[in-house]
Symmetry: D2
Subunit: 337 residues, 4 copies
């Protein structure tokens, strides 16, 4: 249930609505749109009668939001959520490209990658300092040293930094260096971690788990939003199917479904989504044509010697070519790159 305030509602009227909601035993959640202010009734709102809230001064109308997803729902907020990542807006007409290697391997590798992806037109650099790996014996990332290299590359190339956080207690450390905290697919339902990034003041890039439904994905976002962190980017990165020609299967349907169900920005990771560099360009074009707000692409200065995900990483020149290919597709759907 969401209370939509009138355009000219006063702060006192908003406060009174919030007070009333709390008095009814539910929780109030404030959200300011560009025109109207909305107050969400969070939690089990079954007992709350619409009439009680509608009769309060300054209330335009009360909107019913079915299902458990509340703050993430398009019913709660009709306008797209737009926010800035180190100066670049996401969720608007311009498509945002995040690019870089799977893992930070060395200062040289990362800085080279950063300069290359900047040249291609990326606005943010990806690179893992803490790597969740299937085997305990695989390379797990450079840790804080990797974060420092990311920060250096950011300054040198003029790119925002997106990097993964894998445990609640790491959130403060990673937040010192990163512009966006990434929650990986394996951790999509690690609620302790979702709560921790929810209470941080950083934008969060949330990846869909390998076999999660769209409903579970939005509920995971809801965990973050419910801690008053409204800046969540949803990332479709391929689901697990029985197909073996590709590493995962990009759920292209999920883009229009998510765009209709939620106001949050939606991006696609075609690198994990396909697992093979030769298919990245086609799936990137498809993602933009389907309405994605951005892409997250793996680019490595030397994919043949990458410590992880080499098969799905683009060569720098391929990334420049990809960006050239994407421009007309973006324009064809009324976007820019």
């Amino acid at each position: 249930m969401v209370v939509m305030m009138k355009e000219d509602a006063t702060e006192a009227q908003v406060a009174k609505v919030m007070f009333k909601i709390e008095a009814l035993g539910t929780k109030a959640h404030l959200s300011r749109g560009t025109v109207n202010t909305f107050v969400g009734v969070v939690g089990a709102a079954n007992g709350v009668e619409t009439g009680i809230l509608e009769s309060l001064e300054g209330v335009e109308r009360v909107i019913s939001v079915p299902g458990p997803v509340m703050l993430a729902s398009r019913n709660f907020r009709q306008e797209n959520t737009v926010f800035s990542i180190d100066g670049s807006k996401i969720g608007e007409k311009k498509i945002v490209v995040i690019a870089g290697p799977c893992a930070v391997e060395s200062r040289e590798q990362l800085i080279q990658a950063a300069l290359e992806v900047k040249k291609g037109g990326a606005v943010a650099l990806r690179g893992g300092a803490f790597k969740p790996r299937t085997s305990p014996y695989s390379f797990q990332g450079l840790g804080e040293e990797g974060l420092k290299i990311l920060a250096e590359a950011r300054d040198m190339a003029g790119l925002a930094v997106v990097t993964e956080v894998v445990a609640p207690e790491q959130v403060p450390l990673v937040s010192q260096y990163a512009d966006v905290l990434q929650v990986g697919a394996r951790n999509m339902q690690n609620y302790a971690l979702l709560n921790a990034v929810g209470t941080s003041h950083k934008p969060v890039l949330l990846k869909r788990a390998l076999s999660s439904t769209i409903d579970e994905f939005l509920n995971a976002a809801e965990y973050i939003l419910s801690h008053n962190n409204p800046r969540v980017i949803l990332c479709e990165r391929g689901i697990r199917t029985f197909e073996t020609c590709t590493r995962n299967t990009v759920d292209i349907n999920a883009i229009p479904v998510l765009k209709s169900m939620t106001h949050l920005p939606v991006i696609v990771d075609p690198s994990h989504g396909t697992g093979k560099r030769e298919y990245v360009a086609a799936v990137s074009r498809a993602a933009i044509a389907a309405g994605a707000d951005g892409l997250m692409v793996e680019v490595h200065p030397d994919p043949d010697h990458a410590m992880s995900d080499g098969d799905q990483s683009l060569y720098p020149q391929e990334f420049q070519d990809l960006m050239e290919q994407l421009r007309p597709v973006a324009e064809a759907v009324g976007r820019t790159l």
Copy 2:
């Protein structure tokens, strides 16, 4: 194994190569490209030594084709297969749109649908006269009466007719009325039916089964090709996953994978692929951006009263709007509509 003949190879040289292949206990399959002629060694070619064939006159070289898919493989034929459906080429620069209702319900319904999709720019009309349905008590189509209505609509609107055939013994009947024989997803591994359409002289539109791998899909096409019917259109129509927001999940990865593995034209059915009309446009744009050669879209003059698949059928005006949206996307990837 494929024998590539020299550009100036004589008919006698080709015949000698074919004779040699048969003498070795395998089967020869002739395929004429625009420049070179190819002779495929079909069947268990393990025992055949490359050298024996390479030493024959007129032979340019012998190409190894790994795996059981042979005639459908891009290794066997590098150029795209292009053929005509009632005058419209498929597999070339121009994207082919097939549209119409799920089922032929009546003369009025179908003719109205035909005129509407023609107006929007479709080159072929879809519509089922024989409908495979999950329940034996559901509407199973008008049968031959439906075929006659399709033929009438074709003449009236100037569209090719694509319609499903569900049993081997129906192939001659359906071939009298249809320009393209459709094999549905449920029959993708109905080998008796594949053999029957393979020996017909009609182009075949083969739909991928709900849980088939790309390899199985190509092997199903191989059944048709191995009967000397080279005109096969592959149709990705969504795979079954655990997602419930959409009826199926369009495997967008499959488009670049198929385009790299096979020379056959590849189209997408966004209607079955999503199951919901509101997502058809986004997925259609994605399909074209990813490199599809065409689309197969459900359009019904009155979706709210459709006998089947009403939820996924576009209203006629939506189809016109879709075609307008698709034009710039096609151009963005160097295609036309």
Copy 3:
């Protein structure tokens, strides 16, 4: 909707109920239990008022059967369907084991297999004469010659014969030789074939398709039943998942689900279900413990040289050992072997 007649209802009363049902625009289906007679109202029965039928003489009560599955439903028939396969009852206390090679390869191979599986306690011999294969270049079976060998083995070993039919026009031929017609997983929704086996007078063993839901599986059975062939055996043979350690994943849940939803006998094929001989015994034990009415097991006199499915075929001695292992499990759940 099912009309349950009183125990002492006369034939005339039954006929009158059937007449009334047809007069209402629906179809009547007669089914005689050991105590009561039932008349099913087949087709769209929404418009039929219960009261009209309940008021007829001889009617005990009218039972509502939700969903499209009707004749296969446990609501339609409470007692287990029991029928005889060449003298052996299926659907009763005794568990039925069908065993033999994937394909009939030669007279020697099949007769040896038949004698071995008879020795172990199988009541029926499996073996394909018509083999549906993914690739058109794989061995497709010996055809009618294979059927003749099967018939010879039956006589020699005293076993019923279960063999696959892959096309509607083959049904009369295969029926000459087989005691049970098998419809394979790939043909579960080949409705032309289901209709053809439905009009035959042979028991049918219907395999669940790789990605079919239980609901679709029962609807496929309904096609056969609706042609007045009530003798259908349902066979769970593994569904397709992302797991790669096994060929398929046996859906063990499906056994109790099917036993509660339908009165038809349910068996399990642990050979296709696992794809590896070393797991066949464990999954066979599980199937019986879960309530399966039988098993279908691949046994080959020389698995290492089998033309198909060698990895999942038991050695004859392994089959004897398996039967020994199964006996106490069957007894533990109140069954015999």
Copy 4:
């Protein structure tokens, strides 16, 4: 790579082998069997020559262990791992049953549940104090208060306590009250949590994730083992498929596959695995017949008013009946209950 020491190898010889392994840049891992001692070469052992280790005194032979799973592999340790949970051995002939409600809801509810499951023959009590829930607005458990109730129920009923831990920082707190730490399906690849339970001194019950492969499951166990915590119980609890009649699909194949690949005990959760109480008994019988070492069953004193998972919780009497049913099945496969 694993070094198997001779039966009479001295401590000094073992130490020398370990020293050599570390000197080669890899890590040594000691494991004492009842007869032989084994030293694992953990990490990238590619460069290590077998001969160097085989020539050391006291070495019987060097065993190659393919793949990244090392300490969890049956190649590393041939004998079953057996350990005690508060006095009851798991991994031996006797099948271990863990039972109780999904969540600790109140003192009354839990103590009643504990007494009931004890009466039925369970050796451990399950119950969540920290509940990972899809929606942030669902009941998330009683927290530490729930742990205290669990401890009280343990003392009162004489049962071990198995309870979930959802964040690394909770491990010390939960360890104060629990006999076994449970890692839930959603956290199977939460590596920070796996590391934390690996460094605890408690047995760990690790649930397989909804779409994890068996290989990923074993790698998750490897994380725990690699921290020198060898007491890991693997729990198959159903994978996600497209089937909708059941909540998940129990992968019964996984039991023999796991028993052949690893020495760790394997149990099954038929409650989450089916999601419906009426199917729990059949799947429990199947699990034991397939070779499971135990079961984890949801039992609630009043399922109709459970705060979570009521549909899949057994009534107390059903649990007693289940145990009665399981006894002969256990005996049929040479086990006891």
